[in-house]
């Protein structure tokens, strides 16, 4: 079960801070009280990256909400193309045009232990989720498992360590910090609880497989090509397990967070 979105808006927000976390990964903090008030963990915003009303790049970029604090939202993004490169060049005090909050976010399961598993940029929505669970369920256990290629690509982990009483475990492909291996290897074989996952497709597939074996509820957050982000263009189609009967699901409206058993074949 995921959470339905609240009212969406198009708004212009002032950039309160923008910083380079590591080489090509940036965090941008935008003042936007309505979105920060209504956002649920796992939801995203569509950010206009073109400057001076330029038609290029034409489309907005979908970015998941990384953190929400007193009237501001923060987004964590990696420079992968023209749009994100332009966004990285914005400065503090600039204004950015955003739509949101969009999509269906994570639903906090009725469990006493919550495993948040992130790989690479997949950690972006998990900080907001971890802070929300901590706030709403102060007594419950939160275990955060983060994976990256190397120490250098492991960014924005301080926020997780700052949450009261969470257990954070790290894995890197090259062993430069934490466990030398895959983040999936950090999930105990006898784990009981709910899993919330975001990361590269193979990683989410592996996590969903483990959860199926261990009979754990698993939600995954999916990234796709997206044009509108609001269910109009139907561009972000993805197959669910009931594809034959019900056709495609759409990541922007039905997701980006899905119950893994409903999309993994």
């Amino acid at each position: 079960m995921t959470v339905d979105n609240e009212k969406q808006i198009r708004a212009v927000g002032e950039i309160k801070d923008i910083r380079c976390c590591s080489r090509d990964i940036f965090e941008i903090v935008i003042a936007q009280s309505s979105i920060s008030r209504n956002a649920q963990p796992g939801q995203f915003v569509m950010v206009k990256t073109a400057v001076d009303k330029s038609d290029d790049p034409l489309l907005r970029r979908p970015l998941s909400i990384h953190q929400v604090q007193h009237g501001v939202i923060s987004l964590l993004f990696k420079v992968v193309g023209r749009g994100t490169k332009l966004l990285a060049s914005f400065k503090q005090g600039d204004y950015v045009d955003i739509l949101g909050p969009l999509g269906k976010g994570f639903a906090v399961e009725q469990q006493t232990t919550h495993f948040l598993i992130g790989g690479g940029m997949g950690i972006a929505p998990l900080l907001f989720l971890a802070e929300t669970i901590r706030l709403e369920r102060p007594a419950e256990k939160i275990v955060i498992l983060l994976g990256a290629r190397s120490r250098e690509e492991l960014v924005a982990v301080d926020g997780f360590f700052a949450i009261n009483g969470v257990e954070v475990k790290i894995a890197t492909d090259d062993g430069s910090t934490g466990h030398h291996g895959l983040v999936t290897e950090l999930l105990p074989g006898d784990a009981v609880g709910a899993v919330y996952c975001c990361g590269p497709w193979p990683m989410m597939k592996a996590v969903a497989g483990l959860c199926r074996k261990q009979e754990m509820e698993c939600q995954v957050s999916i990234e796709t090509m997206m044009a509108c982000g609001m269910g109009a263009c139907l561009g972000c189609a993805v197959q669910g397990v009931d594809f034959i009967e019900n056709g495609y699901l759409h990541v922007c409206k039905d997701g980006p967070v899905f119950e893994a058993r409903k999309i993994w074949l």
């Binding site: 009212k7 969406q8 808006i9 198009r10 206009k48 038609d55 290029d56 790049p57 034409l58 489309l59 907005r60 739509l99 796709t224 090509m225 997206m226 044009a227 509108c228 609001m230 269910g231 109009a232 263009c233 139907l234 561009g235 972000c236 189609a237 993805v238 594809f243 056709g247 495609y248």
Partner: protein, 306 residues
């Protein structure tokens, strides 16, 4: 000082639109998706997502890719089918205080006729016939590229359609005016143009097309000059109203199409970027007319001096 009321109303056959700003099919969902962002009722009309007799799942992903000042799409006419459209969507439309145009598509003249006949018995305001989708093998585009077939389908649908009838044209032809004339002769109340231009993009790393469908329809500001040229050419040939579509996102774009002779315009890809853009254009167009002391929008339409 008494300010004279600005009249933005335009007519398509007997159908009067409060202003010439419409939305293009496939870019505005069923309207409800946009309710948080604009007042749907302020628009001249909305054209909703294309509908076929039976539901269609559409093309496999990836379905969209961004290009310079534009985008390619190959959605493949994913839609809920006529029955669910009538039972689930039309009740939503009935709440709107503006015209709602159903866009229909089929594989045969008979499909189109059945759709038009069924929809003529509903509260839908008008019907737009899509004979121009480039993204499916039987997307009706065959009807849109041959004047004889365009005439036949218009004539056949006209007989079954008691609502204002708009034929939507493809730009992927040598002479769009021949198709427009065929539609007029077949009994269309208006033609709308252009649908998307057939295009392609390749990922050089994987050496694969960026769209699963390989080719797709190009839209957005990139196609505006072509759309404008075609609208102007068609306006010089037909006597029925022409609805201009293609890369419109600013009030200046709207004015260009009106000057070229379009009676109304449809906003397409811009809705996907700025969901409130169509509403803004109504406001800006009204302001433009007031600032320039133009009392009636008809004074602008077709006033291009060549």
């Amino acid at each position: 000082m008494a300010v004279k009321k600005t009249d933005l109303a335009v007519s398509i056959g007997d159908w009067k639109l409060k202003n010439p700003i419409m939305t293009a099919s496939g870019t505005f969902g069923y309207g409800e998706e946009f309710a948080d962002y604009l007042d749907v009722d302020s628009l001249g009309a909305i054209v909703v997502k294309g509908i076929s007799l039976l539901p269609r799942t559409g093309n496999p992903p990836p379905r969209v890719v961004e290009t310079s000042c534009g985008m390619l799409n190959a959605i493949g006419l994913e839609n809920v089918g006529l029955e669910r459209f009538i039972s689930e969507k039309i009740p939503i439309f009935e709440k709107y205080k503006t015209g709602v145009v159903a866009n229909i598509l089929g594989d045969s003249i008979d499909d189109y006729c059945r759709l038009a006949e069924r929809l003529s018995d509903t509260s839908i305001t008008a019907i737009e016939v899509n004979i121009s989708c480039p993204n499916v093998k039987k997307g009706g585009v065959a009807f849109g590229t041959d004047p004889k077939m365009a005439y036949d389908i218009t004539r056949a649908v006209r007989k079954k359609c008691s609502k204002p009838l708009i034929i939507k044209l493809t730009p992927n032809v040598t002479d769009i005016t021949a198709i427009a004339l065929a539609a007029e002769e077949g009994g269309a109340d208006a033609v709308s143009l252009i649908n998307t231009l057939l295009g392609m993009a390749i990922d050089i790393k994987s050496r694969r097309p960026k769209l699963a469908n390989v080719v797709g329809g190009l839209s957005g500001p990139a196609i505006k000059p072509i759309a404008l040229r075609m609208v102007w050419q068609v306006c010089n040939k037909v006597t029925i109203p022409v609805i201009g579509i293609g890369g419109i996102s600013r009030v200046e774009d709207v004015l260009e199409f009106l000057l070229a002779g379009a009676t109304a315009v449809q906003i397409g890809t811009a809705n996907l970027v700025d969901p409130n853009v169509a509403g803004e254009l109504v406001v800006k167009l009204t302001a433009y007319l007031q600032e320039n002391k133009i009392e009636n929008i008809g004074q602008l339409i077709g006033s291009l001096e060549v």
